[in-house]
């Protein structure tokens, strides 16, 4: 009997366990297996294999039963996920339905999730900008949260490392606020975007409009071909999964790469319950899961554990990993676990028209667009709010057909659309300030369908966010006016936090174990063999889309962990 147990334990023991297979978990898996570690990847959702499990990737527009529209049944059953821009008839299979994983909104929060191998890396918006020291120095300079234990120089080589493998399109713009990377050729501008760029450059010395940097292969390099990925074909239906591997996802890139080493065991349908802590050894020894199909609890063991369950779920796992030593959650000596959660403020937008450049139009589609890096409060504090915002920008030529009338004349005009003017638009991406009052916690009574405590989410905007919305609207109006755009309309859609899908923090990095969870290697201060390299580890949010930073942190952290393991330090 004892022997049986020892055998079972041996069978379930690996060098490393990675919890989650999204952007950061996929990278952790690739790096760990690449360094020769037998790695178990636990994914709570189902398996989604590249190409074969993209059921709508070749579906023509007319083949969708409702031409892409969501049915009333789906919308009624899913008031939360139906708000997500990427959720439509062709992508429903990749999003968590509202009833599948209940949570408690102490304050309104739209929690957008993708539970499958690849996680949200299948449906993400693929924008990949580096952070700069203006971001990493933010908390220390402006006196919020805690000082980041790392700076740009710590991450720079790792940014390069992940960019080369993932395939990032961009232009070397030479901006201090947005460091250049290892870029594949940039996407093209259209005339009106170019016009706006020039008008802004002529009027403001420190405001720039650049082409977005995005995880698309515009020119495959040998490393991409080795992954079985080809050039992006500009279909712009990425969120259905791409048969060409034209954009980066765990499914098309890191997970198959890790599988090829022969060192990875991928276990889908494994809902992580908690991390096992051994009081005698003073370290984590493994992970408890609930098998999604059998509902049975099982344990797996490893020397090092990477937690990459996505920001809020990594908080949940740690909060639920209690022991005599850690009654309030694994590694939570400081009491900050679950607190100082922040996100990105996407509330405001602006639209307008432009009647110039009427002799030119565009041809084809572009899975990317221009980007305005942060220009507010960069070199000095110049407004009555802290930090700033970046913005997306794009222009497109509108084609309109006259839809008046009836019969053959109507048909004629429908088939002969007239080119109208240009429509231009932008949306903000504001940095929010992490606060103790923005937190997640386990609910004392309510459980999810697996018997795991439900997450209670209490996150809201503050005055700083409201001021930023107003400033974005004013500044963009000024810039649009300078460019000769007309019929300018600003909006504040007052969307709930969460719909930005950029929630971060709760397991923050810091220098001091008294005020943070993780050290500069994304390692729990108090449990040296547990590493957290997803959105939960972020001390502050910057204005840039965070995924590229998660990739770089994951690769850097694995490199440290494996070296430390070989030295016997973890």
């Amino acid at each position: 009997m004892a022997n049986l147990n020892i055998d079972a334990k041996a069978q379930n023991t690996y060098d490393a366990i990675v919890i989650g297979s999204g952007i950061s978990g996929g990278w952790a898996a690739k790096e760990l297996t690449g360094k020769g570690l037998r790695t178990l990847v636990l994914e709570r959702g189902r398996d989604v294999r590249h190409v074969t499990d993209y059921p709508t990737t070749m579906t023509q527009p007319w083949e969708f039963e409702h031409r892409g529209q969501l049915t009333k049944e789906v919308k009624d059953a899913n008031p939360i996920i139906s708000k997500c821009y990427a959720f439509y008839e062709g992508t429903q299979q990749f999003f968590v339905k509202d009833a599948e994983h209940p949570y408690i909104q102490e304050k309104p929060f739209d929690w957008i999730r993708g539970y499958q191998v690849g996680g949200k890396s299948l449906m993400w918006a693929r924008q990949t900008q580096r952070w700069s020291d203006f971001d990493f120095e933010g908390p220390a300079r402006d006196g919020f949260a805690v000082d980041w234990p790392i700076r740009y120089a710590d991450l720079a080589p790792w940014y390069s490392y992940v960019e080369r493998f993932a395939g990032i399109t961009g232009n070397k713009d030479g901006l201090a606020t947005l460091p250049d990377g290892e870029f594949l050729p940039p996407h093209e501008w259209n005339c009106v975007e170019k016009h706006f760029q020039q008008k802004v450059a002529g009027r403001y010395k420190d405001r720039h409009v650049i082409m977005g940097r995005a995880a698309h292969i515009t020119k495959p390099q040998p490393i991409h071909l080795q992954q079985g990925r080809a050039q992006c074909q500009h279909r712009t239906i990425c969120e259905r999964g791409c048969p060409f591997g034209g954009y980066f996802s765990s499914n098309s890139s890191t997970i198959p790469w890790a599988a090829r080493t022969g060192k990875m065991t991928l276990r889908p349908d494994s809902v992580v319950h908690s991390i096992i802590y051994d009081e005698q050894k003073g370290r984590a020894t493994g992970v408890r899961i609930i098998d999604a199909n059998t509902k049975q609890m099982q344990e797996f063991y490893a020397h090092i554990i990477f937690l990459n369950a996505a920001a809020l779920n990594s908080n949940l796992v740690l909060l639920n990993s209690t022991s005599h030593r850690f009654p309030n959650g694994l590694g939570n000596d400081s009491g900050v676990l679950g607190k100082y959660v922040a996100f990105h403020n996407y509330r405001a937008g602006i639209s307008a028209q432009y009647d110039g450049n009427l002799d030119s139009t565009t041809d084809g589609r572009r899975p990317n667009g221009p980007y305005i890096p942060r220009f507010r409060n960069v070199y000095k504090q110049e407004t009555d709010f802290l930090r700033g915002y970046a913005a997306g920008f794009s222009a497109n030529r509108v084609s309109r057909s006259n839809q008046d009338g009836i019969g053959a004349d109507l048909k004629q005009s429908l088939l002969n659309p007239e080119l109208g003017g240009w429509s231009v638009g932008s949306h903000m991406m504001g940095e929010t300030i992490p606060k103790e009052t923005n937190y997640v916690a386990l609910d004392a009574n309510q459980k999810d369908p697996f018997g795991i405590p439900q997450l209670k989410i209490s996150i809201a905007y503050d005055d700083n966010d409201d001021k930023m919305v107003k400033d974005y609207q004013e500044q963009m109006t000024e810039m649009f006016t300078a460019a000769g755009f007309t019929n300018i309309r600003v909006r504040d859609d007052r969307r709930n936090p969460g719909l930005d899908i950029h929630e971060m923090g709760g397991v923050r990095m810091g220098k001091d174990p008294k005020t943070s969870m993780l050290n500069k290697w994304n390692q729990l201060h108090a449990v040296k063999n547990v590493f957290v390299t997803d959105g939960s580890s972020m001390t502050s949010t910057s204005t840039q889309n965070p995924s590229l930073t998660y990739m770089a942190m994951s690769a850097r952290s694995v490199d440290y962990a494996v070296k430390a393991m070989k030295k016997g330090l973890v």
């Binding site: 996407h187 084809g364 839809q403 009836i406 088939l415």
Partner: protein, 173 residues
């Protein structure tokens, strides 16, 4: 070039076997006479010329699906009542069901609905017309043969001169 890259990838069987014909109506929302009436309405809005009209492209089937699966109760009622009202008005105006009117009579009746002072009539017509246009422009025939939709453009050119091409449509007399 794009297709050459595509050819390297073997797609699973389902990718090529799903056509609009295989998509069945989830529920029988309209009776066959209502379905026939709707077909006549969409055909009046977008008739056959030297290219197929809305009826031949099954636009009425598409509308039925959207109303049945995507619309709420009040909108569904507006739709069903509107169908009834069309036939009633046809009886009043030209003494027979809508289906039996000639093209001129049917066009006049729908035009009357579009200008009606009764919100129910106006709403019904704009609902049906909007969906007719959408279903027509998004049909395989139109996207493939007339508006030349590219599933895989393979490129984005930002500044190209405005082309001077139009789709010729000569209405059949």
């Amino acid at each position: 070039m794009a297709m050459a890259a595509g050819a390297l990838i073997s797609l699973p069987a389902w990718a090529n076997s799903w056509t609009s014909e295989t998509v069945q109506l989830t529920s029988k929302f309209l009776s066959s006479s209502q379905d026939d009436l709707l077909a006549q309405i969409v055909e009046t809005i977008i008739p056959v010329t030297d290219t197929p009209g809305a009826k031949a492209l099954n636009v009425h089937q598409f509308i039925q699906k959207i109303v049945a699966d995507c619309y709420d109760k009040p909108a569904q009622e507006t739709f069903l009542n509107g169908l009834t009202a069309i036939d009633e008005q046809a009886q009043k105006t030209f003494g027979k069901p809508f289906r039996e009117g000639d093209a001129t009579q049917r066009t006049a009746l729908l035009t009357q609905f579009s200008q009606s002072t009764l919100p129910a009539q106006k709403d019904f017509y704009s609902m049906v017309k909007g969906m007719t246009i959408r279903g027509y422009l998004n049909s395989e025939y139109v996207m493939t043969n007339l508006t030349h939709y590219q599933f895989i453009p393979g490129h984005y050119y930002g500044c190209v001169p405005v082309p001077t091409k139009a789709i010729s449509q000569t209405p059949t007399k």
